[in-house]
Amino acid sequence: MAQAAAATAEKDLWNGGVSPMGASYGKLMMWFFLLSDAFTFSGLLITYGLVRAAHPAFEGLPDAFVFSPEHWPIPEKVFEAIPFFHGVAAPLVFVGIMTFILIMSSVTMVLAVEAGHRMDRKAVEKWMLWTIVGGITFLACQAWEWTHFIVGTDTPTLIKDFVFVNGEGQWITKEVFGANLKINQYGPQSFADFFFFITGFHGFHVFSGVLLNFLIYYNTVTGVYERRGYYEMVEKVGLYWHFVDLVWVFVFTFFYLV
């Protein structure tokens, strides 16, 4: 009788008795979800590459660079602001800090997974909390970055536009501050569109990740995983969180550095 019960339990491990690819159902599905998500992000980043390659680059020395819809902007000339230092040019410093924050939160996540393997509830709580703090800090940085990008620089970019006045077309020069999905002071319109879509889609992933991390933290504190006897949920959500970090590594290179 006991033997039969044991056999049923064994067999239930995916119904065939042997778990495929040596992973649990949830973990395997998380891997394949992440694979499909990787394709989505690749689609966005590669389209960015296509459109960028179709635009002329700025001819001349970086020091002489000016914003214009005629050429693709040099990213380090666009992203050079840091909070509390208005007017100080610190190219790429802020995104560098953001990258560091996300890497650190990835480390605290993997330490939470390690603590889970040892059934160390206190340590899992501690590291999950640090991971959540890292995620929220990153989101706050991104909110600042977006605000700065939308508001724009102190001096406007002069952009020529063709408008119709009383049925007659004429060229006018507009002063443009900042960027949104209709205007862009930094360069071609598609540059701003890609900025919002790529960093926005990534930011939404970070936001969902923070929610999932909080759920895991809550369940750890209330002892759900301790009663269950294993902390595999920490591992599964950990995979998602590392993926978010991984995507940022690519966004950092292809949007900000290249």
Partner: protein
């Protein structure tokens, strides 16, 4: 104690020092590579060489995250290749699209 009789007996194992040290080493490498990328952004002039270095360093970082943090290196080989082989499509897409982009007429 009677009210606690339903609580499971949990044995907490001591921290795996070697494993934790390795994780921090990986974190150090990721931080260092990011710092190097940051330096290269200002030292080298724009061009194919700079882009190639950035792509190479990004792949190094991605490899450390996926293999160590996501533990893929220690999974069964079938799982490892099921995740990596489909990435060929991404490489193909990248090459094809950027190549087409360079041939497009200059966009306004």
């Amino acid at each position: 104690m009677a009210s606690h009789s339903n609580e499971p007996q949990v044995t907490v194992l001591p921290p795996d020092k070697a494993k934790i040290k390795k994780l921090w080493t990986v974190a150090g490498i990721l931080g260092a590579v990011t710092a190097v990328e940051f330096l290269i952004a200002f030292v080298l002039p724009h061009g194919p060489l700079k882009t190639a270095i950035f792509v190479a360093l990004t792949i190094v970082k991605a490899a450390y995250i996926v293999l160590e943090f996501m533990h893929l290196k220690y999974e069964v080989k079938v799982l490892f290749w099921s995740i990596l082989i489909p990435m060929i499509f991404v490489v193909w897409m990248l090459v094809a699209f950027v190549y087409e982009g360079m041939k497009l007429p200059v966009l306004p």
